[in-house]
């Protein structure tokens, strides 16, 4: 008895969900009239189960769309080529299930089989998904090239700072070129920052092999917690406390984190993200230290602290904000 009843109940749930999905896809992808809306409203008012099922799928659809929007932007030219490819594919594989599987994978991965360039403006922040499951997160004012194919995985950091989350693949090492150096990994998480004169690599997980391009033979194997700094002719490796490593990645949440940081260094950090530049006047002012967290774009919060906590003068001159005693 109870078996029968249970399966009936279950069938009802599934039917409600099918109906909700049908209405939802109709509203999203097809013409939607006032009569359709009235039909939907009526159905939603009929039972709470209808409303809940619809809300749930609607949220799932929104989430899918938001994620789809997060995917890397593709040049129009490639999008056109891909559309032609899909059209051709649709004709070729109609009814051939196996080929359809391969075909759709190719559609997904095709855009990333050649070198792609990703850039962020000052204050920008972008997450790029690569075809192999790896992700590169670009900080402000950054240029990254990536080329991930079936048999190779390479990227280069031309400028700025990026967080690399490389999917594990023993057969295919991932190499990153930066300022003439080469970083080779199998699967790991690390941060690279390239500034005029030096490159900084901080490792969170896994192993990284660093080959200094400028001085052949100089190389280092990094383990988690290691921070490598490469300058013209030297490389040095230091251990960084976990807290500092996390602080240096605050930008991934849109935050700047300062611990005992001089005002000069803090201002330099803000200036990476904002077009209104902070200038600290006077050596003794620049040497004051601060410990706080700020949203990367909230220059005003910083100047408030300078004025109200440090008792400094803050003066706006065109694009510059001068902080002095």
């Amino acid at each position: 008895m109870s078996e029968v009843r249970e399966s009936e109940v279950c069938a009802v749930t599934v039917n409600v969900e099918i109906r909700a999905a049908e209405l939802l896809q109709r509203r999203r992808f097809w013409n939607w009239s006032e009569a359709d809306q009235a039909e939907l409203d009526r159905w939603l008012d009929e039972a709470l189960a209808h409303r809940v099922a619809f809300l749930r799928l609607e949220a799932g659809l929104k989430r899918t769309e938001r994620l789809a929007a997060l995917r890397p932007p593709e040049p129009e030219r490639e999008a056109r080529a891909r559309r032609r490819f899909v059209a051709m594919l649709a004709k070729t594989v109609a009814g051939v299930g196996v080929l359809a599987v391969l075909g759709v994978s190719a559609v997904l991965y095709l855009p990333w089989t050649r070198t792609q360039t990703y850039t962020t403006p000052v204050g920008g922040h972008e997450i790029v998904a690569l075809a192999d499951g790896s992700h590169i997160e670009l900080n402000t004012d950054t240029i990254v090239h990536a080329d991930v194919g079936a048999d190779h995985r390479t990227a280069s950091l031309d400028r700025g700072e990026a967080f690399f989350d490389i999917s594990h693949d023993v057969g295919h090492p991932f190499t990153v070129a930066v300022a003439g150096h080469h970083i080779t990994v199998l699967g790991t998480k690390f941060r690279i920052r390239s500034e005029s004169g030096h490159v900084e690599v901080a490792l969170l997980e896994g192993r990284v092999w660093f080959d200094a391009g400028s001085s052949p033979g100089q190389a280092a194997l990094l383990v988690p917690g290691d921070v490598l700094v490469a300058r013209a002719n030297t490389i040095s490796v230091t251990k960084e406390p976990a807290q500092d490593l996390a602080g240096s990645l605050g930008w991934r949440r849109g935050m700047l984190m300062f611990h005992d940081t001089t005002l000069m260094d803090a201002a330099a950090e803000f200036n990476r993200y904002n077009s209104r530049k902070l200038v600290i006047a006077g050596a003794d002012t620049a040497r004051l230290t601060i410990g706080a967290s700020f949203p990367v774009n909230d220059v005003d919060a910083f100047t408030r602290v300078a004025r109200e906590i440090f008792g400094l003068h803050v003066e706006t001159r065109g694009d510059q904000i001068v902080i002095s005693r």
């Binding site: 896809q25 939607w32 809940v52 989430r63 899909v86 059209a87 594990h168 849109g254």
Partner: protein, 196 residues
């Protein structure tokens, strides 16, 4: 997305109801749906027949939504899990079977999920990975329709002509895709289907 105008019912009372519905719905989407992986874990862990799970999930949601219409609970997680536990107890009583220890696991689970605040950038990356994994797991035709619709931004008619199939068939593929992706995005723990 699109609004749902309350046509032809303009009294103050029904406006109040509509406002209440909107608030409860917003709360439900924001606070309750993200708990679906936890809820599914709880149900699978505490119920013998996995064929009932979708039904149980739906019943929990209806009960939670119903209660929230009277008053929105302060602690969504605790409320959802308590509702789930009570529902399982009711079912056990009704069925006159004594299958399982419908546990007081609520506390253990609740505490375990009180992790530090979410890292939004990290979540975005995880989510992107999940979308890719979820798309890869759809049946081929559903996946093709979803990709054409969401990533290429085509309409239903365009998808139909692109795929060379009838429009009702496209509707079916899209509806199935939406259902499957929702379950994968909400219902499965974040580390499922991830490369290790």
């Amino acid at each position: 997305m699109s609004e749902h105008p309350e046509t032809g019912r303009g009294s103050a009372k029904s406006q109040e109801t509509a406002a209440g519905l909107a608030a409860v719905s917003a709360w439900f989407v924001r606070e309750v749906l993200p708990l679906e992986a936890l809820l599914m874990h709880f149900l699978h862990h505490n119920w013998h027949n996995s064929g009932d799970i979708a039904d149980l999930r739906q019943d929990v949601y209806v009960r939670v939504y119903e209660a929230a219409q009277k008053q929105i609970p302060d602690h969504a997680k605790r409320f959802v899990l308590t509702t789930a536990r009570n529902l399982l107890i009711d079912r056990v009583r009704r069925e006159q079977v004594v299958p399982i220890d419908v546990v007081s696991d609520v506390d253990a689970l609740g505490v375990a999920m009180d992790a530090p605040g979410p890292d939004h950038a990290l979540m975005a990356r995880e989510e992107l990975r999940r979308l890719q994994t979820a798309l890869d797991r759809l049946p081929p035709r559903s996946r093709e329709a979803m990709i054409l619709g969401h990533i290429e931004g085509l309409s239903g008619q365009q998808i139909a002509s692109r795929m060379g199939v009838a429009e009702p068939t496209v509707s079916e593929h899209l509806a199935n895709g939406i259902r499957a992706l929702t379950s994968m995005l909400y219902g499965e723990a974040a580390d499922r289907g991830r490369k290790s």
